[in-house]
């Protein structure tokens, strides 16, 4: 038995059908086709699948898709404005803040949630914001530095 749901994904309206119990991660990847969201553990422990739901960072693998009806969801696929990268993306590139790249979408969304609320974070704020996201290449220092760089950039003030 499938249920129709509608939500906004990166500003665009989306309508799809989901199985009862379907999670948001599978719905975004398999039904909607947004593969920028990655699955790492499917049990809410690694942070790889982090998306923003109404501006809050959420683990899409343990979020029921049906519960997202009417919500506004942001993924890394909607981060840049056309050809222009978001300051976080530029800073991640500049600071070598990705190695295998698999945790990067979740890291970026966790960092965006922070900067949207607090454009002048301390180092401790940044560590706190990404503490639920595992990077097995263990590139945490460049990631923290990149988020701090993005916060200081002109681009963020314009964004």
């Amino acid at each position: 038995m499938k249920t129709p749901i509608q939500f906004r994904l990166n500003g665009e309206g989306v309508a799809t059908f989901v199985e009862g119990g379907a999670n948001l991660l599978d719905t975004l990847r398999e039904s909607v086709g947004d593969t920028s969201v990655k699955g790492g553990c499917w049990q809410g422990t690694c942070g790889t699948c982090t998306v923003l739901i109404d501006g809050m960072p959420r683990l899409s693998c343990v979020t029921l898709a049906e519960g997202c009806a009417g919500r506004s969801i942001e993924s890394v696929a909607g981060l840049r404005r056309g050809a222009e990268l978001h300051p976080l993306q530029s800073a991640f590139m500049e600071r070598f803040a990705a190695q295998c790249g698999y945790c990067t979408p979740g890291m970026l969304m966790a960092a965006k949630a922070l900067l949207d609320k607090n454009p002048n974070p301390t180092r401790e704020n940044v560590v706190d914001a990404i503490c639920g996201n595992i990077c097995r290449c263990t590139g945490y220092e460049p990631i923290i530095n990149a988020v701090l760089d993005a916060a200081r950039s002109d681009g963020l003030r314009r964004a």
Binding site: T35, S36, K38, A77, L79, R80, F92, R136
Partner: protein, 542 residues
């Protein structure tokens, strides 16, 4: 931050490097930050089927019967894959280079040898349907005695784990049950020294835990070939292994990969591709075989556990005159890459130190654990952990600074290694000197002036002989002082020896103040032994 010490071995390079040391952008970085890098699971296919595996709940058991009739009738199930469906159901990874015998089935036939071993595959229209069908399979087991410890596995009467190697050890050249290293006469030498340090080290298995789990998708192509999207770290290795297990030509497979969500050695084992390809061939539709996190931890190979015994004979002046190493690699139930880890371990003994008498025995042992594989320096990393702990203990035992103890025993150019190769281009002494400098760790002047280029070769051997001639008349081995009993934890305090401790030594120079600015990259008054800018003087080394 990256820093080049051009004052050290300045003659080693031309210093006209255009790329090394310069920041350069990775070609895959834009994809990573925009979420568009093509990991294997980002490829979408209509009517994709899903393969899930029934795994052994026991570490060692005989399979009496398998009843999959209920699973076959479950909703969404397309096909059950049994051991008999696998064309070549025995393989070992390194058989591609004629190293070792085929010993691991893709699906267990009569006996399971570790918890998590695959028994049967179910292909269904969704992952959930496949999992629900797997839960309907009934297997009856007779549990068998299991062995989980490498030394227990070598005792007479231990359960035999792997029928290809019934004595629980890998066979090198089809006749040797371990790798040996012999140089000088370690047994005779170890009877002479002032101090004997005999210790045991244990390293646990380590799971790579990549954020992207192992997986692959196989899609039948229009020309009878199969396109395989995979997370593998070793594309052609996986291609050839998959062709062998499926008994097809490798040119029937088109592997697409290269974007790997973390591997660290855990994605070289070709864990998913052979059965994924088999399923696609049997059904004629795209099939995905993706590990859950639980499967990655339970079934994905870890770095193997290692137990290492190191026995050193050390003179009071700090020279190590004998080192004996006995190491056991826990291969788990099958070989995978542990046989090769043992070869690497043998090649690394006795570490980067000139020791005139070296003795090594290294075993690749089968136990009822998850088979082990490659991980970042496997075979060497755990040995280094053991050897460097041992070096700290040796330094403490003779009352020497641990860095000076390493410098004293380090390879110098011209020294003969235990493998009967001359040491060339050594740099441990210089690395130790720079590390001490960075840490404001005072070294005595004579050690700050030592060089990898001085004192090597025949001089070192003469020195060792002199050490022995100075050995006490009583040849009875002297145990390490009570400061390093074998029962203490492996943590060793880097304490400076008390002024009265033997041997007497001048007081170290006062360390620079803590808030001193970092030294310049190439200090004008470098005290390192290596000649500076020796390319100018035509003394370039190879």
């Amino acid at each position: 931050m990256l820093e080049f010490r051009k004052d050290i071995f300045a003659d080693e390079r031309d210093d006209n490097l255009k790329e090394v040391g310069q920041p350069t952008q990775r070609q895959d970085m834009l994809g990573h930050v925009t979420g568009t890098s093509p990991y294997y699971d980002d490829h979408r296919f209509a009517n994709l089927l899903h393969l899930k595996i029934l795994r052994s709940p026991h570490a060692h058991a005989r399979i009496r019967s398998i009843d999959d009739s209920a699973a076959a009738r479950a909703p969404g199930v397309k096909r059950i894959i049994r051991a008999a469906d696998v064309p070549v159901n025995l393989n070992t990874l390194l058989s591609l280079i004629q190293f070792g015998k085929d010993d691991e089935p893709s699906l267990a036939t009569d006996i399971v040898r570790y918890k998590g071993e695959p028994i049967l595959g179910i292909v269904a229209t969704s992952e959930r349907a496949a999992l629900e069908a797997v839960a309907l399979v009934r297997v009856s087991y007779d549990q068998l005695p299991a062995v989980f410890d490498v030394e227990e596995a070598l005792k007479p009467g231990a359960p035999s784990v792997n029928p290809t190697y019934p004595k629980n050890t890998f066979e090198y050249y089809n006749k040797y049950d371990h790798q040996k290293l012999r140089y000088g006469d370690a047994d005779a030498a170890i009877a002479q020294p002032d101090i004997v340090i005999d210790e045991r080290y244990q390293m646990s298995p380590i799971e790579h835990a990549p954020t992207e789990t192992n997986g692959s998708i196989t899609v039948p192509d229009t020309n009878g070939r199969y396109i395989v999207y995979t997370s593998t770290q070793a594309l052609f290795f996986s291609l050839d292994t998959s062709a062998k297990i499926n008994a097809i030509q490798s040119n029937q497979l088109h592997f697409i990969g290269g974007t790997v969500g973390g591997g660290f050695g855990g994605k070289v084992d070709t864990l998913t591709e052979p059965l994924c390809i088999l399923a696609a061939r049997l059904i004629g539709a795209p099939v995905r075989y993706r590990f859950s996190r639980h499967e990655e931890m339970q079934f994905g190979s870890p770095r193997g556990g290692e137990r290492i015994y190191v026995k050193d004979g050390v003179m009071k002046n700090g020279r190590i005159i004998a080192r004996k190493v006995r190491a056991y690699f826990d291969s788990g139930a099958y070989t995978r890459l542990s046989s090769y880890a043992v070869v690497k371990c043998a090649a690394h003994i006795p570490g980067p130190y000139t020791i005139p008498n070296v003795h090594g025995d290294i075993f690749c042992v089968f136990t009822n654990r998850t088979p082990a594989t490659a991980m970042r320096g496997f075979g060497v990393t755990a040995l280094d952990f053991a050897l460097e702990c041992q070096m700290d203990r040796g330094a403490t035992a003779v009352g020497m600074d641990p860095i000076e103890y390493r410098i004293l025993n380090a390879y110098r150019d011209g020294d003969m290694k235990a493998h009967r190769r001359e040491a060339k281009n050594c740099a441990l002494i210089e690395c130790a000197q720079v590390a001490a400098e960075k840490a404001n760790w005072p070294l005595r002047d004579e050690f700050r002036k030592m060089s990898s280029r001085q004192g090597g070769g025949a001089a070192a051997h003469a020195g060792a002989a002199a050490d022995r001639s100075r050995a006490p008349a009583s040849a009875a081995p002297v145990r390490a002082p009570a400061t390093t009993p074998t029962s203490t934890p492996q943590r060793v305090a880097y304490e400076r020896p008390a002024p009265s401790a033997p041997p007497p030594r001048p007081a170290p120079p006062a360390p620079p103040p803590r808030n001193a600015p970092p030294p310049p990259a190439a200090p004008a008054g470098s005290t390192h032994g290596a000649p500076r800018f020796s390319s100018v003087f035509g003394t370039r080394r190879r």
